[in-house]
Structures are given as structure tokens and as C-alpha cells.
């Protein structure tokens, strides 16, 4: 059954970093605002009001939009159709987004510390050293 799932255990605290990370992983069409409605393409998909929308068919999400709801805490929480979990970016949407977001976090930290970045990738792990 196609339905929107809310990933409350995955949160993004900074909107600018989130949008940049989405662009980093190939989301070229990003709608931003307040109380944006996610498309309801199947009867089981409940109406969702979100702050950020990645439209259907952007990155392999055939069944619905991908949204980010702004929680009372200010955190952004992803909402994705059950079927799209295994389709968007070949099922790696959440993990690729977390990786891209965390890389952006490191760049922001380095800028705040006026530091330099040295980045390497070893065996599936990105290693970033910030010196300041």
C-alpha cells in the first residue's frame, strides 16, 4: 500500500544546510515555503503540509513527493512514500541525504572556526580533518 511515512528518528536542524544537501544529492527542483501541500497521488496517501517539497519523479520517487515537515522544535523531518523508500536514489535517499548534510555541517563548522579542511575517503568512510 502506498502511503506517506514520517521518519521522526531522522531530523535536520538547519534549513539552509538541508536545502544545500538536497541539491548536493541531485534534487534540482526544490519547493520551499510554509504549509506546502504534498501531492496525493494515491487514495492511501494522507494530506501532508510541509515546508520543503521534492516533487514526484525527481530522483526516482515514482509514487509521491518527498517532503520535510517543520516540527515545533524547529527540526525538519522527512516524509516519503512507503514504496519510494526503496526507489528514491535506489533506496539510499535518506542515507545519502544524511551524508551530504553532515558534510555541509563540517564545512559550516570549519568556517566558524576559520579552519582548513582536509578530506579523504577510505573504505566507505569519509574522513574530514578541520585544523584551526
Amino acid at each position: 500500500m502506498s502511503k506517506y511515512l514520517t521518519f521522526t528518528d531522522v531530523v535536520f536542524k538547519d534549513r539552509d544546510l538541508l536545502v544545500t544537501a538536497l541539491e548536493d544529492i541531485g534534487c534540482s527542483q526544490i519547493r520551499q515555503g510554509e504549509n506546502l501541500e504534498m501531492g496525493s497521488y494515491y487514495s492511501e496517501q494522507s494530506k501532508q503540509k510541509v515546508a520543503i517539497v521534492i516533487p514526484r519523479n525527481s530522483i526516482g520517487n515514482r509514487y509521491g513527493d518527498i517532503g520535510f515537515e517543520r516540527a515545533e522544535s524547529g527540526d525538519y523531518i522527512p516524509i516519503i512514500d512507503d514504496f519510494d523508500r526503496s526507489r528514491a536514489l535506489n533506496g539510499r535517499f535518506i542515507t545519502q541525504l544524511r551524508t551530504a548534510y553532515n558534510e555541509r555541517v563540517v564545512k559550516r563548522v570549519a568556517a566558524r572556526l576559520c579552519g582548513t579542511i582536509h578530506r579523504t575517503v577510505e573504505g566507505g568512510v569519509v574522513k574530514i580533518k578541520v585544523r584551526y
Binding site: 544546510l17 535518506i94 551524508t99 563548522v109 566507505g124 568512510v125 574522513k127 574530514i128 585544523r131 584551526y132
Partner: protein
């Protein structure tokens, strides 16, 4: 020279951070910048350097005495 080492697991997107070369609670200041952006860490450990006195601490003590 102080440095912050980040490791990001590409398979899970999880990140770890280790602050090195900073004595005392100043490393907590660096951690605060990160937690503002990613939230409360799942696990947090203070290294031995955290319990060492930093070079700037004596100045703070002097101010309190005045």
C-alpha cells in the same frame, strides 16, 4: 594546532567527531557548534584532554578573584 576529526559512514550517513589538541572545556565549545546543527549526539565521551587545564583558564580564575 587544534583539530577536529570527523568520520561519516557513507552506508548509514552517521557521523562521529573527535576534538583533539584542546585542553579543558574549550572542546565543549566546538561540540556545541556541531550539536546546534545536528542535534544531541547519541553518545558522548570526554577525552583525557578535557580534564586537563587549558592555557586560558588561569586568566578566568584571576578575574573571579577580583
Amino acid at each position: 594546532m587544534p583539530e577536529v576529526n570527523f568520520t561519516i559512514d557513507i552506508q548509514t550517513g552517521e557521523m562521529e567527531m573527535k576534538v583533539e589538541g584542546i585542553k579543558g572545556s574549550q572542546c565543549a565549545d566546538v561540540a556545541k557548534i556541531v550539536t546546534e546543527l545536528i542535534g544531541i549526539p547519541e553518545r558522548e565521551e570526554n577525552t583525557s584532554e578535557y580534564y586537563e587545564r587549558s592555557n586560558v583558564r588561569p586568566q578566568i580564575h584571576n578575574k573571579k578573584k577580583v
